[in-house]
Amino acid sequence: MKRLSLSQAFWFLLRRDLLLAMRNRAELANPLLFFVMVITLFPLAVGADPNLLSRIAAGIIWVAALLASMLSLDSIFRSDFEDGTLEQLLLSAHPLPVLVLAKVSAHWLVSGLPLLLIAPLLAMMLGLDSDAYGVLLLTILLGTPVLSLIGSIGVALTIGLPKGGIILSLLVLPLYVPVLIFAASAIEVVSSGLPATAQLSMMLAFLFLALSLSPVATAAALKMSMS
């Protein structure tokens, strides 16, 4: 008898989540607006000295990206949890980590990718060294998927809790530290004229590690949360 294969299921789920995101465009824009607003606040707080701003631009952009991605995490599983679709995913004959990966990928496409697109504009406003633009985009490209992957574990652990949001940041932010360190450092060394190969390859390593391990942890956490 005909049945859909695992890869078909993966693409189907990915497409479905993108479709749902497109039908809720207002929600889609929230993390992006947050990202822009946080970055706008920095010059207001530390002063508009162009030298200072261009020196801390990489750090500001990354801290803001980190907070924006954390803010959007809850939407990975929230609506599926509330309407019972998550239950059905757990009862699927396909391995749950693969389905989780599809959902996290969709989440990254709607929350991480826009950051990538708007980052050059913000970097320009903060006066980041123009040589560092390329590497800034590369770190966002390599780093934000790791944030979504790690974050999905935290969301899966707290999805059933009435006040999961506060505890989620406590669980997830410490785990974000390595990504932040290497991303900010990559941009910094490139601004000072050195190559950032070491930092970028570390970030690539983090990405592969997160890709292979975190869906398994997320799947286990979802099973726990649903019981």
Binding site: I153, L157, T158, G160, L161, K163, G164, I167, L170, L171, L173, P174, L175, V177, P178, I181, F182, S185, F206, L209, L213, A217, A220, A221, M224, S225, S227
Partner: protein, 248 residues
């Protein structure tokens, strides 16, 4: 040997046995702790010579370093319990994991505070973004996450499974975090930090340090047994053996 281990494991795995054994062992452990800690303190505060660079202030090492060691050791114990919980769903592992978290957090807290108290005379400031202090601070956040998550879930069996997953994720991440912070620090560190790194340590300084480390280990077992006894009683309040226990 293996058979002995399995029976021992099973006996420790049953809450009533653990409760009784822990109760019986506690006085002995406490005595042992008092003896080791007195020996360690005497050796560290009186017998050990002052450090040629740091003078008497180096004696903070006798609480700072054992506390830092314990903070990492306890997290590893928790992750090990986490695996036992997920694979065998063992009740005692749940209790050990949940009771270890506050103890580990307090050791981490101690390592941080004593570290900064040591830093004031050495660096001239209470806090520098030194690699060890920074990763210890992140470790404290990880502990607080475990405690917070365990407290937030009402059904304690479900809560135990949640923190089991979290501590396994954490233990995979700790080396990565530690490495990143070390690496980050090597780019930014000031010159004074290297004062800590000494090629060798006087044997009269080392022995008290090891004694204090042993004392802290024993203390961990004592505190864990104490907390586990309370937790067992609370969890098993409806069971037969607790009823027998509290019969007038």
């Amino acid at each position: 040997m293996f058979k002995w281990f399995v029976t021992w494991f099973h006996r420790f795995g049953s809450p009533p046995h653990f409760y009784r054994l822990a109760g019986r062992w506690l006085p002995w452990l406490t005595t042992l702790f008092v003896v080791t800690v007195i020996a360690g303190l005497y050796g560290g505060l009186v017998l050990a010579p002052a450090d040629y660079q740091q003078g008497e202030s180096f004696r903070i090492i006798y609480v700072h370093v054992p506390a830092a060691w314990m903070s990492m050791f306890i997290y590893v114990v928790m992750a090990f319990c986490g695996i036992v919980i997920l694979v065998w769903r063992m009740k005692m592992a749940e209790i050990v994991l949940s009771c270890s978290a506050p103890i580990g957090a307090s050791f981490t807290f101690l390592a941080l505070v004593t570290g900064s108290l040591w830093g004031k005379p050495m660096w001239g400031t209470y806090w520098v973004w030194d690699a060890r202090l920074t990763s210890e601070l992140i470790l404290l956040f990880l502990y607080l996450g475990v405690i917070g998550l365990y407290g937030a879930i009402d059904d304690k069996r479900v809560a135990a499974r949640a923190v089991a997953i979290l501590s396994i994720v954490g233990v995979v991440n700790i080396p990565i975090i530690h490495f990143s912070v070390e690496w980050w620090n090597s780019l930014h560190q000031g010159p004074t930090v290297t004062k800590f790194d000494k090629p060798s340590i006087d044997i009269r300084m080392l022995i008290p340090l090891l004694l204090m480390a042993l004392a802290f280990q024993i203390y961990y077992v004592i505190a864990l047994f104490q907390a586990a006894r309370a937790a067992i009683l609370q969890r098993e309040r409806n069971s037969r053996w607790v009823e027998e226990l509290v019969k007038p």
